[in-house]
């Protein structure tokens, strides 16, 4: 039951995190220049119309009162409506979340499935051609920004080779490029992390002892080294998975995927405060849950980790 208690505690810890995040956001969005009501109504709007609109948007109240009212509604699971088109924030998030989760999950699978084996192999064959090759690829993927890599891949695979669609979700093919672009950075970190972790483990005394006893390298890696090197890799997976949800903003924008990334970007551009706040709260919860899941998985892999303590 320890882990249930632990999970409960961790979930409760999310509450102050959400309060801090939303309050900081609230402050920043309020400090931003420009009269939103006037922007929405246009140059020809009269002062009365602008005042009425401000009252409708709740902008006529002091900052703290507005924040308090907003959080009261959030507790009642009412995340408000978009200032731009009046759509329910919760409903819009629900419609868009599957696209982002799908993309992030695929990107993680892509990065882990390729990155971890490559990293381990390059650790086992340190200073070989394979090691240099993977290190080079990892540094390259780390350095290339997603918007550039995305556009180059669109030109090559869509325009020249005509294998894939440039954008939108029109079937399974539409996920290939966004997955690779979103996963590229994660792939690089997976290669680096698994290489370092495995190098650390295979230098340990117990590995040397196993080798001295005559065990084959493959067997030693599989039976002794792999599990021990997995802990930092799994932790890294959790952190980067949360990162891919944030990183999806750029990828979704390039490939026109109707996920929460494009939703957040558009809301920030048009200063649609309820949508920005709502989305950030949801993402905070998702990231919190992912981190919790990672801790629990680590505890399952390594019995030495005691969640109760």
């Amino acid at each position: 039951m320890n882990w249930v208690k632990y999970a409960g505690k961790r979930l409760l810890m999310l509450i102050p995190v959400i309060i801090c995040v939303t309050f900081i956001l609230f402050l920043i969005l309020s400090a931003a220049p420009g009269n939103l009501a006037r922007q929405l109504l246009g140059q020809d709007a009269t002062e009365e119309q602008i005042e009425a609109k401000q009252a409708e948007m709740g902008l006529d109240k002091p900052l703290l009162v507005r924040y308090g009212l907003y959080m009261r509604d959030v507790v009642r699971l009412d995340f408000g409506e978009s200032w731009i088109n009046g759509e329910s924030v919760l409903e819009r998030f629900q419609n868009r979340l599957p696209y982002t989760l799908m993309l992030s999950t695929l990107a993680m699978i892509f990065a882990v499935a390729i990155g971890v084996p490559l990293g381990i192999m390059s650790a086992i064959r340190q200073y070989s051609l394979l090691d240099y090759g993977t290190t080079f690829v990892a540094i390259l993927l780390f350095s290339l920004p997603a918007f550039w890599l995305g556009t180059m891949c669109q030109i090559l695979f869509c325009l020249i080779l005509r294998w894939l669609p440039t954008s939108g979700i029109t079937g399974w093919k539409s996920y290939i490029l966004p997955t690779v672009i979103l996963g590229a950075n994660t792939l690089a970190s997976m290669i680096r992390m698994s290489r370092t972790s495995m190098l650390d483990v295979i230098r340990q005394d117990y590995i040397r002892t196993a080798r001295a006893k005559g065990a084959a390298m493959q067997v030693v890696v599989r039976k002794h080294a792999l599990r021990n090197s997995l802990i930092p890799i799994v932790t890294q997976m959790g952190i980067t998975f949360a990162g891919t949800i944030g990183g999806a903003v750029v990828t979704e924008n390039i490939f026109t995927i109707p996920g929460i990334g494009t939703m957040l970007l558009n809301a920030v551009k048009s200063r649609d405060v309820p949508v920005v706040l709502g989305t950030v709260i949801f993402v905070t919860i998702i990231v919190g849950i992912i981190n919790l899941a990672v801790d629990l998985i680590c505890a399952l892999i390594d019995p030495r980790i005691d969640l109760a303590s």
Partner: protein
């Protein structure tokens, strides 16, 4: 331990599969509009699939996808929400107006077969076309016209587009009279605007504003199918359209935020049309034989306005130095690759009531030597002269060219590129010192657009810094007169602005459209409208 690992892997697989199925359907919400999305997604999917792996079979293709960065989402112009240019993509195809605004800015008969204006300019009589039906099959009559104008006038953009409208009177089933409080020459442009799209009264009575917004009907060539927030809007051809069924049967307006993606998608055949790409993108497309583009003058005037109430610009000689020191052709080359028209006055050439040199307009030519003379005669002592623009826009390019030109004649010119809300607020409240470059867009394609910056009637609100009450009076007379009788007022007003160097009109903004070369009859429209009914493969 092995067991545990297997369990984790199995759990991971289940999560992925759940994610896959959820992502595929794209619908977890419960709203009617979102539920309708599934059919549309498949329509988009069919169109997309057909175009991914090979060149699309263009012959006989009757579905088109238009890529746009701005998303249309308000489909009932007469409602309580203000609608804008993006919405017009859909509105101009769902609804017909009594008069149509053609791509070049001219007016032709629409749902009105003809119209007359009374001698005093206070009454417009419209004779309606018979046999026109709404998308629900109901006939369009004078009742619907009256409803449209009465409701539209009370809405947020009513006063701006139905200027001086007083009432609409039904004479008979197919004749209406519009009464104005004061004569207004640009009234027909309001009739042809997005607010003038005739809505069905009986349907409104049945479903209310919210219902109308969610499932709008008009008499236009296309019917509304669905709107999926942040993704697309779909329209289908109205087979009983009074000008004949459109050859393109399905139009999908796809929101594509990234402009690079829009163009790559067009070149790849994923999209058929890209809305208003920048001119440098268009010129790059010249090398692609599968894509064509064209442009036309929009209704926007790119003008530099100076703060004659404060700072160095309060000196008339300084303003005249700036006026003579700007080479508009260079700005045109840098910002529009030379495709825009330079402006002598703060009016576009497609405006009704436009005045030219032949009418008596005075023109200031680029003359750096003269500019230096004016500067020497002014009280200018090297203070900073800042030009405000919105960051990343074409206006910023214009400002940088002007900065270089003014520095050459000895003015310490700086460009302040700010975010859009700050930019808008500063302009609306005239809260700046130096100059502002603005793109004055006019929904009414008329010389009356010039009045916006000179309204003395709204001083108290602090919205507009009024310069010269005489200018306001002249432009008020210009809007009240009819035909050529308007011209002397506009000539006099424009010459005052030139003489005092309040504004330096720079360029007429352009609107562009890029499209697959197999698609025919695609023309850029001055207001950015799309006549999908004329297109065909």
């Amino acid at each position: 331990m092995k067991r545990k690992l297997s369990s984790i892997l199995a759990l991971l697989m289940v999560c992925v599969m759940v994610g896959c199925s959820a992502g595929g359907s794209g619908d977890t919400g419960g709203s009617a509009v979102t539920q309708a999305a599934e059919t549309g997604s498949s329509a988009a999917q069919d169109a997309g699939d057909a175009s991914t792996t090979a060149e699309p079979a263009a012959e006989g293709k009757d579905t088109i996808i238009l890529a746009t960065s701005g998303e249309p989402y308000r489909f009932f112009a007469q409602g309580s929400q203000s609608c804008a240019g993006d919405d017009n993509l859909v509105l101009s195809n769902l609804y017909d107006c009594l008069l149509f605004l053609e791509p070049d800015g001219s007016l032709t008969e629409g749902l009105a077969e003809s119209y007359e204006v009374s001698e005093d300019g206070l009454t417009y009589t419209f004779h309606l076309r018979q046999g026109v039906t709404f998308h629900n099959g109901m006939p369009m009559t004078a009742e619907d016209v009256k409803f449209t104008f009465d409701t539209g006038f009370q809405g947020p953009i009513g006063a701006a587009l139905f200027v001086n409208f007083e009432s609409c009177e039904i004479i008979d089933e197919y004749t209406v009279e519009m009464h104005l409080t004061e004569p207004y020459a640009a009234f027909p442009y309001g009739v042809a605007s997005r607010l003038g799209g005739i809505a069905c009264k009986a349907y409104y009575d049945e479903v209310g504003e919210e219902g109308y917004m969610a499932a709008p009907i008009g008499t236009g060539p296309y019917t509304f199918v669905e709107y999926v927030s942040g993704d697309h809007t779909t329209m289908a051809a109205y087979e009983d359209y009074w000008r004949g069924a459109p050859p393109i049967k399905t139009v999908i307006i796809q929101t594509v935020a990234d402009t690079n993606t829009q163009i790559l998608g067009l070149q790849n055949g994923d999209y058929d049309i890209v809305r208003n790409p920048s001119i440098d993108v268009c010129t790059r497309l010249d090398s692609d034989e599968n894509v064509e583009w064209n442009s036309t003058n929009s209704t926007g005037r790119i003008t530099m306005s100076m703060s004659e109430w404060t700072g160095p610009a309060s000196d008339k000689n300084f303003r005249k130095a700036v006026q003579a020191g700007i080479n508009k052709d260079d700005i045109n080359d840098a910002a529009f690759a030379g495709y825009a028209e330079t402006l002598d006055i703060d009016m576009c050439s497609n405006y009704g009531g436009y005045v030219t040199v032949d009418d008596g307009i005075e023109v200031v030519e680029y003359d750096p030597e003269k500019a230096k003379e004016y500067l020497a005669a002014s009280s200018y002592a090297g203070e900073e002269f800042a030009i405000m623009v919105n960051s990343g826009s074409t206006l910023e390019t214009c400002a940088k060219v002007i900065q270089a030109q003014l520095m050459e004649i000895g003015i310490n010119c700086q460009v302040r590129a700010v975010d859009n809300p700050t930019y808008q607020d500063g302009w609306n409240l005239r809260n700046y010192e130096g100059a502002y470059i603005v793109n004055n867009l006019s929904s009414l394609v008329d010389a009356d657009g010039i009045i916006t910056g000179h309204r003395t009637d709204r001083w108290e609100e602090g919205l507009h810094y009024a310069r010269d009450p005489e200018l306001y009076d002249l432009f008020m007379k210009g809007r009240a007169a009819q035909g050529d009788a308007r011209k002397p007022f506009y000539v006099e007003g424009c010459n005052i602005i030139t003489e005092e160097a309040y504004d330096v009109p720079l360029l007429n903004d352009i609107t562009t459209v890029a499209y697959r070369s197999e698609l025919k009859n695609v023309l850029a429209h001055c207001l950015g409208n799309y006549n999908f009914r004329l297109y065909h493969y």
